[in-house]
Each structure stands twice: as C-alpha cells, then as structure tokens.
Symmetry: C2
Subunit: 295 residues, 2 copies
Amino acid sequence: MQRVEDQIKRLIEECDYDEVTRLFATLKGGKRLRAKLILKIAPKHKDAPLLAAIVELIHAASLLHDDVIDDAMTRRGEASVNATDGSKTAVMLGDILYSKAFTELVSFDKEVAQTIASSVTALSKGEMMDVQMAEYFNADEQRYLDMLYLKTATLIEAAAKASAFLAGKNTQKHALYGRNLGLSFQIIDDILDITADEATLGKPAMNDYVEGKCTLPYIYLYQELDDTDRTRLLALHGKKPTNEDLLWMRKKMKEHKTVEKSFILAQELSNEAKNALQEDEDLVDILNTMIKRSY
Amino acid sequence: MQRVEDQIKRLIEECDYDEVTRLFATLKGGKRLRAKLILKIAPKHKDAPLLAAIVELIHAASLLHDDVIDDAMTRRGEASVNATDGSKTAVMLGDILYSKAFTELVSFDKEVAQTIASSVTALSKGEMMDVQMAEYFNADEQRYLDMLYLKTATLIEAAAKASAFLAGKNTQKHALYGRNLGLSFQIIDDILDITADEATLGKPAMNDYVEGKCTLPYIYLYQELDDTDRTRLLALHGKKPTNEDLLWMRKKMKEHKTVEKSFILAQELSNEAKNALQEDEDLVDILNTMIKRSY
C-alpha cells in the first residue's frame, strides 16, 4: 500500500497548488478498500499502484461532492472540507481531483480508462438519484437497489474489472465480484445505521431516515405494515424522531424481521460473489470480513 | 456545427437518465466558441465534431459548477440550474457531463486526451483561485492574469492545441493563439462590465467589483490612486455601491485611463495571437470580431 500512498502524493503534488496540498492533507484516507482490491487482483502489474491511486482520488472527489450534496459537516469522524472551507472549495477540490485522475488514466489501455471513466458517470447519476429519492418515501426495493448500484457499487465494480484486465484475469467474474461487494457493503452500512449505537457510528442512530434515506429495512417495513402504521412511518420520514418514535420503529422492525431480511440479501449477494471467485482466498476473505461487520 | 450538436445530443442520450436530458435541454448552448474554433482548425478531421462536443460538455460542466460557486441565479439571461433545481443538482449534473466527456475522450490519441483532461485541472484550480481572490482586494496584476489564464484561457488553449494535433498543424502556435484569445476575450468581458449599460449586460453595471472581483481596470486604478482614494476604493470592495460611489469610480477610471490601459493589454495579446497565425484568415477574423465587442 505504501506504493499507492506514494503515487497519491505524487499526483497531488503535480496539481502544483498549495491550497490543494493543504486541503487534501486534511482528508482522512479511509479504508482504501478500492486500492487494496486492485493490489489484490493485480499484485504484480507495475501500474497497479497508479491505478489504485487514481481510483482513490476519484473516490475522494466523489465524497467531497457527496458531502456538499448532503450538507454533511463531518466525514470519517472529522470536520468535512465542506464544513471547514465551505462548499465552494469542496466542489472545486473535487473537480481538481477528478480531472487529475482522468488525466493520469489516459496513460492506461483504453479498456481500463473507459471502464473507470464511465463508472464516474454512473456514480454521479446515482448521487443525483439519491438526492431526488430523499424527497419522498421510496417503497420500491428495485429502485433503491438500482440507485445503490450506481452510487456505491459501480466504482468498486470498475476497479475490480480494470485490475482484472491488467492482470489478464477474467474481467466478467471480477466485475460481478466488485458489484456484489459494493452492494452488500452498502446494505450492511444501512443496517448498521439502525443496529449500532451512537458511539460506534459517530452520529445519531437511525439518522439515514432523518435525512430522507429509505434504506432496505424501512422499505421492507413499509411493505409489512397496515395502513395506520404506514401512515405513522411516512409521517416520520425526513424528520427528527422522538425517542418514542425511535422505539416504535425498532419494535416494528423486530416484529417484521426487516433488518434480518436486509441482511439475508447482503449475504446472498456476497455468496454470489464468493461463488464467482471461490479459488481466490484473499478476495473471499474480504467478503467474509465485510459481512461480519454487522455483528 | 450541426454535426457538433448531433454529437452533443448523442452523448447526452447515452447518459441514459431522463433528468439529465431534461436539465441539459434547459441550458443555453451559448456561442459555442470552443466548438467553432475546433472545426475551424481541423475542418476535415472526422473526429473533430466529437472533440468539439466533448469540449462543449466540459465547458457546460464548468459553468454549472461556476454558478454554484458564484451563487449565480442567471446564466446567459435565463435562470441557472442552480436557481431552478438547486446547487446539489447543478453539482451532480456537472459531474455527469465531465465524466461523460472524459469517457469519450479516451477514444482519442493520448496526446489529445491528455491535453484536454489536464486543462480541466487547470480550470478548476483557476476557479478555486478566483473564489479565494474575491475575499480581499488583489492589487497584483500578474496574480490576476495567472488566475484568468487558468480559469478562462486553458480550455480554449487546449481545444486549439488538440485540434491542431488532429489536423497535423503546428500545436505550439495554435496553443499560443488559444491562450491569448481566451485571455483577451476575458479582459474585454471585464471591461464591458464597466463600460456597458445594464440592459446590454443583463445585470447591473460594475457588478464584478460588487462580487469581489478585482479586474484589471480596478487593479490599475489602485496603482494610480493616492492613499485617501485607495482607502475609499478598498472600502467599496465586495459591497453594493451607491450611485455616487459608482460615478466616483468611473470618474477616477477615466482620469487614470485604466479601462484604456486594460484594452491595450487585450489588444497586445490579440496581436501576438494574430502574428502567430497570420496566414489563417478565419482565425484572425475571430480575434478581430472579439476585440470589436468592446466598442
């Protein structure tokens, strides 16, 4: 991973703008999931660290714009650029990182460059969909999964596919792996918003629903409730709930096992990914660790 | 130009998202200066219309983000996306257009793709610089011109250079032409903000200074004023001036010929561009028309 960090550092320095260097240093790198995946899939390819650095810059840019969109004041437990330097700076820093990533992408094979570049269109579409879907209660499971795929899974899918291409491995199987890893990762994240406590999350529990995000456990709940309870659930959408409301939602979710149902879907997606690449122990391990987060 | 519009239409349709098609249709295309330049430089190259469409998408994306940054409520006389659909949608639509443009760029020669992609990093840096420079009175001419180059001239420079590459023409001379065209175009624009009336501009005259933008006529004015007048000028920076203040600024600019001095610089830059490509009548005509806008 040091080679990836070195490449990231070089790309930021090449932007040749003190303000960019200063601001980028304030961003927390996160788990570097996408970079690790690329190095695991194409460990011996000389350009894998550069591809990993490019994908991490794209991911960082998308988070910067995501925080502007969501008016998020924190990111990974720290104040967001949005909060410290304003949304204007966050938009521009994102644009600089995106375009620097695209410039470097040009040196790769067209197949690789096109795969990564088009995933950015997909993730931006997903962001736009996410904003629009937060304005009403979306009870359509497929519509939610389509948005999740675009917003969270496409870049991971592209990273897996592009690195498989570099390594001469099966691109289709790796794309499926990346897609399902991304989807089940996000479903687990949505579950944790409900099941984990405030201290673990670094934000109030069940905050997604306050922000208008109808994740799977809420969609499944809506499907199960009678008319009276549905009305109550809908009335809480996008609002700060009282303690009583919170307890009521948790009770109903327990009653109808909607968290379990969401978890089962995450598991199915993860199993499908495992089956596609069962010979690759490292990749299977990533899935196992990810699924275990929910306990 | 119809071939360019057809390509733009195709690229937008390929984004495959109704909301993008709807929003893009509300954007006014503008003068398509960059597209026309590309077609003039590489009229016979089969991919020139696609390159022109890509550059226009990038330009549209940069304007969308620019309007978010500037809190602009109008663009080309119409309500901005920012105003009608919110800044979040404007950020995401910009990201979609940028990434779609980059995806298509991959099919070009690396020289072309890298030239265009790196100019987007430059223009985003220019935007960021512009935001920061609006927070204080910048009296440094070179610093202002550096920002102008990044923000306005780099994409035109890249368009001219990339199309010269396609046409097998001298890339260095065409790059110089594009850079100077962009710089002098913007200087004339800055002059018009002072000399044109509200009806022509579609916004109050001398609005740049209200927004904190210290354009050349203000920088030159600052350099000429005595301490008392400097203090008055600085006090007006970023504020809505009274009629009396406006008249005072105009009188002082007239006295010290700061608009004329700015115009002379625009002319010098334009002449340098003409000298580089004097054999190309069409390109010389573009410069002549542009310079004449100021009368």
